[in-house]
């Protein structure tokens, strides 16, 4: 599996959990943070599935 997907995921997480994106949701920050967090976990899960498939398929 290419390293790119993990770096992309990390960069995406970095963007999601810092200013200025967080400031966009200032009025519903609590909901945003928990939903974005859960979404990020789901993305990581999907990335591991893809990675395992790729490595399994050679």
């Amino acid at each position: 599996m290419r390293r790119d997907i993990w770096i992309f995921l990390f960069a995406l997480g970095g963007a999601l959990f810092t200013w200025p994106i967080m400031s966009i949701f200032r009025n519903s920050l609590t909901w945003y943070l928990f939903l974005a967090w859960l979404g990020f976990i789901v993305l990581t899960f999907l990335a591991t599935i893809i990675s395992e498939k790729e490595e399994g398929g050679g």
Partner: protein, 981 residues
């Protein structure tokens, strides 16, 4: 409230359960049925990260600072995304070198430096002790809360410290070899993670749904309360975005560099594959354990508690609402969180202290050899010492600090390791001096900007004299160093610590030289490159000598097992180990000792056994120098060759991309590995779609049997992915060399094929035309005479029989004359004049001719005629064409149907389409339909010249006539005449 003895009994029962769980897992491991060798237990063991800080401190932080508590969990979630790159590498290197602590890892990277390892240990012990104290403080405070007796907490703390120390000794220091996994310990930690999660969720549900109407109720309640600011961030809230980012970064570093995290994630890792599942399971655990933090924190505030009490809302809310059972569950959850951390952290710290301080000291005193049991007992004492150090911190200093405060100081402390460890994994240039300078700078900043102000705030240091001057100084104020104001204390300390740490690390590394050992270790850590061990001319004396060295430090049985294991693994006999294998065995022995004593001491021990003479060392040094020089030259040559290769690759790729032939390569399983631009155009399949797919699925024209060992050449027509009429000429050949497979070269020959067919047809028409002209001329004249004579004879008196016969002759003569006329038309014997004429007018006249024909009664004629400009044409000939096509359509639909005629202008041409719904034609008929004398009708019904004449006439007008037809689907004749014809 619970009595002290009841609480102590419950805790004792819990510890007995924990002992049983660990013992059970250890037994299973011995039976070869490991309970911990799976990613789920691994992920749960990583949750040792969630300590009593998570259990109590997060609620306190949420009630005081709002959402910023999440940073401690979001940080590790983000870092987990990089684990497959970073953590996997650390695990790999640690396993390969039997590294058991973060201090040994850093020391090993920089030439197995003992000084660096000791420095890291010092920072860790100073930085982590408050964190250990935090756990015991939480246990003692909650014990006091539940028992209602403040003095009971200290006794419980002392008692529990003893019990936890014993647990850590039994399950974490049974053997000297620290690189050995501790299944019982790991399983117990995973068990505790499950307990604390379940406990927190239960209490969270009780508060959220028992005392309130769910999340929405609590959040809307807090929005209406004076605490509404807690749900905000940035200006007007207690947390700035900068502080959020700093705390997230600290947590990201903590998950990698806290000694206990290094222990469970690296030392206790069974398989790097487990990391992948932990990358989402561990963040999911963090998410779940935090779901109810805000409801409990905000719920407590809404129920009337103050923010100062918030650290223990988890206990106090159920207690005050008359649910002591929930309070007890919370207490057990908090206790399990604290105990897991204390046990693992004390083992990790004790190993660091052993390897970095105790072992070197014992070794220098020459008392290490022959006393493995003594060494083990010293390690056990250090474990107890670490636990009790935490206890004393909690009792005497802990009262001045909040849980979060102590935890974050530890996070800041371990972040000091980040530059040396992370950059050391990817930058070969970093050296020991740079790492020491960076860590010293970072540690100094940590002490100056965090520890001193904290001690001063607690009153342990008095702000007077020199300290007062410092605090009042504009540039040296520890809270605003060098005049940097406006930052929260965590961001302030992080900024200066990281900045100076990085600066010194990089600058010193650049301006100082690496030793040979450092260079070797840098190669190993950065490139995961393992050079062959050096075999001296004399070499290790014997296998027995290596075994004897091992025996002195780890015991006779273990030494024998290790050597036998090496021999078995490499298929060697005891008496036949010489040369390179001895060197390898020595390296293996060094690794084994590294697990027991640390890499620095193990390296020293083998240096001490001196297998090289001074002369050999000199020769070795000289040899290394020459090799280095040669390597430098080779590197330059390699770089040049690499550049040339890259240029060549680019050049050939450009050629392949720009040629008009479709080129693709397939691997051995016929999957596409390259696909050029022309291939995209020819096949209509994009490269992104084609790559990795099987060729026979993309190009249905290809027969898998084509991919044999012989080169095959042939023409293929596609039927699935692109225009079925497309004619491709393909060449398939076998790829030879390292990459096996096939190369396909395709050429689109559709146009070429069309032109060839046109040429063939035109030649055929010309030949037949010449023949027809001759026949028409030679037969036409005598036939005219015969016809005149027959007419005259018919006018004469004759018998009925003669008249009837003459009439029959006349009919046949007429028929022959018609054929001859047609032949003449086909041969275009009579040049016609082309005049500007309305095509639509001709079409209308033609349709008027047939409209009232009884044979057309069952045929519906539908027209869609656009205005088109007059064309320079021969109106009679064009009418003949139209008539022919209309009559052909009629013949094709004997049972009736629809004839659609469209006229439109497109691209400088007038297009006329005659479409019928008749029986259509198969490919064989379709190909011959314009051939002279070809007819599907009987001999009496047609000459087979109609469509040939149409073809000739349209060609004569510079146009084209095409037929599309399928059996049972009707036919369409499409005529195109240029406007300027």
């Amino acid at each position: 409230m619970f009595s002290t003895w009841v609480l102590l009994s419950i805790l004792l029962a819990y510890l007995v359960l924990l002992f049983s769980v660990a013992y059970f897992a250890d037994r299973k491991e011995l039976q070869g049925r490991s309970l911990v060798s799976n990613p789920y237990v691994y992920s749960l063991s990583l949750a040792v990260y969630c300590t009593s800080w998570t259990f109590y401190g997060s609620v306190g932080k949420a009630a005081n600072s709002g959402l910023s508590f999440l940073t401690i969990y979001v940080g590790p979630t983000l870092m987990a995304a990089l684990w497959w790159i970073v953590l996997r590498k650390i695990v790999y290197l640690s396993k390969e070198h039997r590294i058991t602590t973060i201090s040994d890892f850093i020391g090993s990277r920089y030439g197995k430096s003992l000084a660096l390892s000791a420095l890291v240990t010092l920072v860790a012990v100073v930085g982590i002790t408050p964190y250990l104290g935090l756990q015991l403080k939480a246990v003692m405070t909650t014990f006091s809360l539940l028992s209602g007796k403040p003095e009971g907490g200290h006794f419980a703390g002392w008692f529990l410290s003893l019990m936890l120390g014993v647990f850590a000794v039994i399950f974490g220091a049974r053997k000297l070899n620290a690189s050995e996994r501790h299944s019982g310990l790991v399983f117990a930690v995973a068990f505790e993670s499950a307990i604390k999660l379940a406990a927190f969720l239960l209490v969270g549900c009780f508060v959220t749904y028992g005392l309130f109407d769910g999340f929405g109720d609590i959040l809307s309640g807090i929005e209406r309360s004076p605490y509404a600011y807690l749900t905000k961030m940035g200006p007007g809230s207690p947390v700035s975005f900068l502080e959020w980012t700093s705390l997230t970064f600290l947590a990201m570093m903590a998950i990698l560099f806290l000694p206990r995290q290094f222990h469970v994630a690296v030392v206790e890792n069974y398989s790097p594959e487990h990391i992948k599942k932990a990358m989402w399971l561990f963040p999911l655990y963090l998410f779940l354990i935090n779901v109810f933090v805000l409801p409990i924190a905000f719920g407590g505030l809404l129920l009337g508690w103050t923010q100062q009490d918030a650290d223990y809302f988890v206990l106090s809310i159920p207690l005050s609402w008359g649910h002591p059972t929930f309070a007890l569950i919370a207490f057990i959850g908090g206790f399990s969180a604290a105990t897991a951390m204390i046990i693992v952290e004390s083992i990790a710290l004790s190993t660091m202290v052993m390897n970095s301080f105790v072992m070197p000291a014992l070794w220098r005193m020459n008392v290490v050899k022959g006393f493995p049991a003594v060494i083990l007992n010293i390690k056990r004492l250090i474990i107890m010492g670490c636990v009790f150090l935490g206890y004393f911190f909690a009792v005497y200093i802990g009262e001045f600090y909040s849980l979060v405060d102590m935890g974050l100081k530890s996070f800041e402390a371990v972040t000091i390791f980040a530059p040396a460890l992370l950059l050391g994994l990817y930058w070969k240039g970093g050296n020991r001096k740079g790492a020491i300078a960076g860590i010293l700078a970072g540690f100094s900043i940590w002490i100056y900007t965090l520890l001193i102000p904290a001690l001063a705030r607690a009153g342990i240091l008095h702000k007077s004299g020199f300290l007062e001057a410092l605090f009042n100084s504009r540039f040296l104020d520890p809270r605003a160093l060098f005049g940097l104001e406006g930052l929260d204390r965590w961001s302030h300390s992080l900024f200066w610590g990281l900045f100076l740490n990085l600066f010194f690390y990089v600058a010193v590394s650049i301006f100082t030289k690496q030793s040979d050992t450092e260079m070797r270790q840098a190669m190993i850590f950065v490139h995961s490159y393992f050079p062959e061990p050096f075999a001296s001319s004399r070499g290790p004396k014997s296998l027995a000598e290596i075994e004897a060295v091992l025996e002195q430090y780890i015991g006779a049985a273990e030494a024998r097992d290790a050597v036998e294991g090496f021999l078995r693994q490499n298929g060697l006999a005891r008496g036949a180990v010489t040369g390179q294998w001895l060197a390898r065995l020595r390296e293996e022995a060094e690794r084994i000792l590294s697990g027991a004593l640390g890499p620095s001491i193990s390296a020293l021990i083998f240096q001490d056994t001196a297998v090289l003479t001074h002369e050999e060392k000199a020769r070795l040094s000289d040899s290394v120098g020459r090799i280095s020089k040669s390597l430098r030259l080779s590197r330059q040559e390699l770089a040049e060759a690499n550049r040339q290769l890259a240029m060549l690759k680019e050049f050939s790729e450009n050629i392949i991309e720009s040629i008009p032939l479709g080129v693709a390569t397939l691997d051995e399983s016929h999957r596409v590995t390259s696909w050029n631009r022309a291939m995209e155009m020819i096949t209509g399949v994009q490269k992104s779609v084609a790559m990795g797919r099987e060729a026979d699925r993309l190009l249905t024209c290809l027969d898998p049997r084509l991919f044999g060992p012989d080169i095959r050449e042939g023409e293929f027509t596609g039927t699935r992915n692109f225009d079925p009429a497309l004619v491709l000429k393909g060449y398939i050949s076998l790829l030879t060399g390292a990459r096996k497979g096939h190369v396909l070269v395709f050429e689109d020959i559709t146009e070429k094929k069309k032109i060839e067919e046109e040429l063939f047809r035109a030649t055929k028409h010309a030949t037949i035309g010449r023949l027809a002209a001759g026949v028409s001329h030679e037969i036409g004249n005598p036939l005219a005479s015969i016809s005149s004579l027959v007419q005259e004879l018919l006018a004469e008196e004759a018998t009925d029989f003669v008249k009837s016969s003459l009439s029959t002759v006349n009919q046949h003569v007429d028929r022959i004359a018609r054929i001859v006329r047609n032949l003449g038309d086909f041969a275009r014997l009579y040049p016609r004049q082309k005049v500007p004429t309305s095509l639509n007018g001709i079409l209308e006249n033609t349709l008027n001719l047939v409209r009232y024909d009884r044979n057309f009664r069952k045929i519906e004629i539908v027209t869609d005629i656009q205005d088109v400009p007059p064309l320079k044409i021969d109106p009679d000939q064009i009418q003949q064409v139209f008539l022919n096509l209309v009559l052909n359509a009629r013949d094709a639909m004997p049972e009736g149907g629809r004839l659609s005629i469209t006229v439109r202008r497109a691209d400088g041409q007038v297009e006329l389409a005659f479409s019928d719904t008749g029986g259509g034609m198969d490919a064989e008929v379709r190909d011959k339909v314009f051939d002279p004398f070809f007819t599907t009708k009987g001999p009496a019904q047609g000459t087979g010249l109609g469509l040939s004449i149409c073809y000739s006439i349209i060609k004569d007008h510079g146009g084209t006539i095409e037929l599309t037809s399928e059996k049972e689907k009707g036919s369409t004749f499409l005529i195109k005449i240029p406007v300027r014809a």
